[in-house]
C-alpha cells in the first residue's frame, strides 16, 4: 500500500491476505487516476451531463430560512450514491475489470451500481439481505430493469452487514475480473479515502454556493451518518474551516434501548468489514443487530474517518429517533414540497432544532436522497 489508510488509530485494511493484492491494485489505480487529467475530465463530464451536477442549494422558504438544503435528492438515481459509483465505475474500467459486485441495504446503492453497470457495460451482481429483498421490492425491480442480477443473502441476520460479508466472499474468489463497488466510506483502505474523494464534490459545491447566495460560510454543517459517505463528502471541504460539523446517527427507537444504529454514540472500538472503527457489539465482540426506520442508517459500524473526527472532537455526533425523523420528513413535504429520504430526514430533524436555538446561524444540511423509496413505508407509519 502507498498510503497508510489510517485516520488517527482508525481505518487500516483488515482483510484476508488473499484480498490484499486486490486492495493494492485498487489503491494504485485510484492514486494514478487522481493525477490523470483525462480521468478527471471524463468523471466531471459524466457528473455534469449524465448525473446532473451541480445540484442546487435551496434556502428554506417556510421552514426556518437559515436552513440551506444541499439537494443530492435531485441527482440522477435519487441520492448522492451516484457521485461515487461513477468514480469507481471508471476506475474499474481502468483496471480492466468486467464485472461489478455491490452490497445494498434499502437498495439505493444497488440501484446506483446497476446504473453504472448499465452505463459502462459491466456484468453487475448485487448482494442484498433476503430480509431487505422482501421489504424493498420496488428497488429490486429497478435494479433488475437496469440489467443487474440480484442475489438474496440468507446468512446471518439477512440484512446489510450480511450482504457486505457475502460481497467480500465473492470478491475473495473473483477479484481478477471483478471490482467490489463498496457503497460507503467504510470498509478497508482504500475505500474510505477513495469514497470521500468521490463524494467531496458535495461539500465543494455547497461551499461555493453558500458564498454566492449568503456571502459567507455556514456556521454549522449537518449530515446523517450510516456508513458516512454523504456526511464525509459534505464535511471534507469544511474540515479545515471554523465551521461546526455535526453528524446525525439513527437513534431508532431510542438510545437507551438496543434498537438503534448509533454506532458512534453507543458503540465501542472494534474491527469490522476491514476497518478499525466504532462498532455496535457485545462484550465478546459479536456484532449486534441494529435498527433504524431508514435502512441506509441501519449498520453496526461506521466509516473510520468519522471515528477519528469524533475522537478528536472535530465533529459532533448526535442521535435522532425514528419518530423525530418522520416528523421532519413530514414537515419538509408539507412546508417546502420536498419528499426527502428517511436518512436525510434525520439530518433535517437536528437542523430544525438547531435553527430554533440559533436563528442567526446559517445551517447547511445534506439532503442526501429523495424519498420515493420511502413513500410506501411513510404511508403505513403516518396513517
Amino acid at each position: 500500500m502507498r498510503l497508510s489508510g489510517r485516520f488517527g488509530r482508525f481505518g487500516g485494511a483488515y482483510v484476508p491476505e488473499i484480498l490484499v493484492p486486490a486492495l493494492e491494485q485498487l489503491e494504485a489505480a485510484f492514486l494514478d487516476a487522481q493525477d490523470d487529467p483525462a480521468f478527471a475530465s471524463e468523471l466531471d463530464g459524466l457528473l455534469a451531463n449524465y448525473a446532473g451536477r451541480p445540484t442546487p442549494l435551496t434556502q428554506c422558504r417556510n421552514l426556518p430560512s437559515n436552513i440551506f438544503l444541499k439537494r443530492e435528492d435531485l441527482l440522477h438515481g435519487g441520492a448522492h450514491k451516484t457521485n461515487q459509483v461513477l468514480g469507481q465505475g471508471l476506475l474499474a474500467k481502468r483496471m480492466g475489470k468486467t464485472r461489478l459486485i455491490a452490497e445494498t441495504g434499502a437498495g439505493q446503492h444497488g440501484v446506483a451500481t446497476a446504473i453504472v453497470g448499465a452505463l459502462l457495460d459491466f456484468e453487475t451482481v448485487i448482494y442484498m439481505g433476503a430480509e431487505d429483498v422482501e421489504r424493498q421490492k420496488l428497488n429490486v425491480f429497478r435494479m433488475e430493469l437496469m440489467g443487474a442480477r440480484l442475489v438474496p443473502v440468507e446468512s446471518g441476520g439477512r440484512t446489510l452487514k450480511d450482504a457486505i460479508n457475502e460481497a467480500l466472499r465473492d470478491w475473495s474468489a473473483s477479484f481478477e475480473e471483478t471490482h467490489y463497488l463498496l457503497g460507503t466510506a467504510a470498509g478497508p483502505h482504500p475505500f474510505p479515502t477513495m469514497v470521500r474523494e468521490f463524494q467531496r464534490i458535495i461539500g465543494k459545491e455547497a461551499r461555493s454556493q453558500m458564498i454566492d447566495q449568503v456571502g459567507r460560510l455556514p456556521d454549522a454543517v449537518v449530515a446523517c451518518v450510516g456508513g458516512g459517505s454523504n456526511a464525509i463528502g459534505l464535511f471534507a471541504d469544511f474540515i479545515g474551516e471554523d465551521v461546526r460539523l455535526i453528524g446525525v446517527e439513527a437513534a431508532g427507537k431510542g438510545l437507551d434501548g438496543e434498537e438503534h444504529g448509533a454506532t458512534l454514540l453507543r458503540g465501542t472500538r472494534g474491527i469490522l468489514h476491514g476497518a478499525e472503527t466504532y462498532v455496535l457489539q457485545d462484550g465478546d465482540g459479536q456484532i449486534a443487530d441494529t435498527w433504524s426506520v431508514s435502512a441506509g442508517l441501519d449498520y453496526p459500524a461506521v466509516g473510520p474517518e468519522h471515528a477519528h473526527l469524533k475522537d478528536t472532537g472535530r465533529a459532533d455526533y448526535v442521535g435522532v429517533t425514528d419518530a423525530q425523523a418522520l416528523d421532519a420528513f413530514k414537515a419538509l413535504a408539507e412546508s417546502e414540497g420536498i419528499l426527502c429520504a428517511f436518512e436525510s430526514a434525520h439530518a433535517l430533524a437536528h437542523a430544525l432544532k438547531l435553527a430554533e436555538r440559533e436563528p442567526d446561524s446559517a445551517i447547511l444540511v445534506g439532503l442526501s436522497g429523495r424519498g420515493d423509496k420511502d413513500v410506501a413505508q411513510a404511508q403505513a407509519l403516518l396513517a
Partner: protein, 260 residues
C-alpha cells in the same frame, strides 16, 4: 521446544494432519467429545475456531458452524475453557486457534488467556501480514505463536514478512476464495518453493482438503502438512463419524511415496 516444533520433529518426513473444529459446535459438550474424536482418529494438530458473527473468510459450512455455536449461547470464555480441558487431557498435541480480529480486540488479554488455556498458536483470518506486527508482538509476549496465511497470489516481498512473523507454521492457501468452496486437490508447489526461499515456518495447506487423494496431492508439493476444515465440520453438522474420516485422511500422510 514448542509443541509444533516437537510435532514436526517427531513426524520427520511424515506429513502433519491438522483437524479443524468450530468450538461450541453444535454445543459445548459435543464439542469436547469431537475434539477427542479427531485426536483418536490420528490428528497430529488440532485447529479450533472461536465463532464470530461475521466470518468473511469462511464459506457456508464454517459460517453455519459458527452460527450453531453462537445460537447455542457459546461465549469466548467457554471456548477457552474447552481448550483448557482438552489441554488437561492431552499435554502434547499442538492446539491452534483460528478466529477474527474483532474477537481478539474485544477481550483485553485475549492472547495471554489463550496461552494460559494451553493454546499454542493463533491465526487471525482478517489480519494480513501488513497489519500483523502489533498482533504478532503481543502474541510473542503472551507466549502464543503467530500463524499467518500465505496465498498463491501473495507477492514475494509479503512472503518475506510472513516468514519473519509466522512461527508455528505457515497456513498456505493455494487458490483464491473462501473456506470450503474449492473443488479441492489442486495445490501450488510454487508457493511452497517460494516460502522455502523466504525461510518461512513449515508450510501447511489449509483450503481444499476433503478427500484422501487431496492429502496426497498437497503433500506432494513438499508441504509439511494439511489442515482439513469444512469437510470435518460438514460431518459434524450431519452427526456423522468424524473419527473414522480423520483416520482415512491421516492414513495418507504415512504413505512414504507421497511424503517426500
Amino acid at each position: 521446544m514448542s509443541r509444533y516444533a516437537a510435532m514436526f520433529e517427531r513426524l520427520n518426513s511424515e506429513g502433519a494432519f491438522g483437524a479443524f473444529l468450530m468450538l461450541g459446535d453444535p454445543d459445548l459438550e459435543t464439542s469436547a467429545r469431537l475434539l477427542d474424536a479427531v485426536i483418536e482418529g490420528g490428528a497430529d494438530m488440532v485447529e479450533v475456531g472461536i465463532p464470530f458473527s461475521d466470518p468473511v473468510a469462511d464459506g457456508p459450512v464454517i459460517q453455519a458452524a459458527a452460527q450453531r455455536a453462537l445460537k447455542a449461547g457459546v461465549r469466548v470464555g467457554d471456548c477457552l475453557d474447552l481448550i483448557e480441558s482438552l489441554r488437561a487431557r492431552n499435554s502434547s498435541v499442538p492446539i491452534g486457534i483460528l478466529t477474527y480480529a474483532n474477537i481478539v480486540a474485544a477481550r483485553p488479554g485475549f492472547m495471554s488467556d489463550a496461552a494460559e488455556a494451553g493454546a499454542d498458536s493463533l491465526l487471525i483470518a482478517d489480519v494480513p501480514a501488513f497489519e500483523a506486527e502489533p498482533f504478532a508482538r503481543e502474541m510473542q509476549q503472551a507466549g502464543i505463536e503467530p500463524v499467518l496465511i500465505a496465498a498463491a497470489n501473495t507477492p514475494d516481498e509479503t512472503l518475506r514478512s510472513i516468514a519473519s512473523l509466522s512461527k508455528a507454521y505457515t497456513y498456505c492457501v493455494s487458490r483464491v476464495g473462501i473456506t470450503g468452496t474449492h473443488a479441492g486437490g489442486q495445490f501450488d508447489a510454487q508457493l511452497i518453493d517460494r516460502l522455502k526461499d523466504a525461510g518461512a515456518a513449515s508450510p501447511v495447506f489449509g483450503f481444499g482438503i476433503s478427500k484422501p487423494e487431496h492429502v496426497g496431492a498437497a503433500l506432494a508439493t513438499g508441504a509439511k502438512g494439511v489442515i482439513c476444515g469444512s469437510a470435518i465440520v460438514d460431518l459434524v453438522s450431519r452427526r456423522e463419524d468424524v473419527r473414522g474420516f480423520v483416520q482415512s485422511l491421516k492414513a495418507v500422510t504415512r504413505n512414504d511415496s507421497v511424503a517426500e
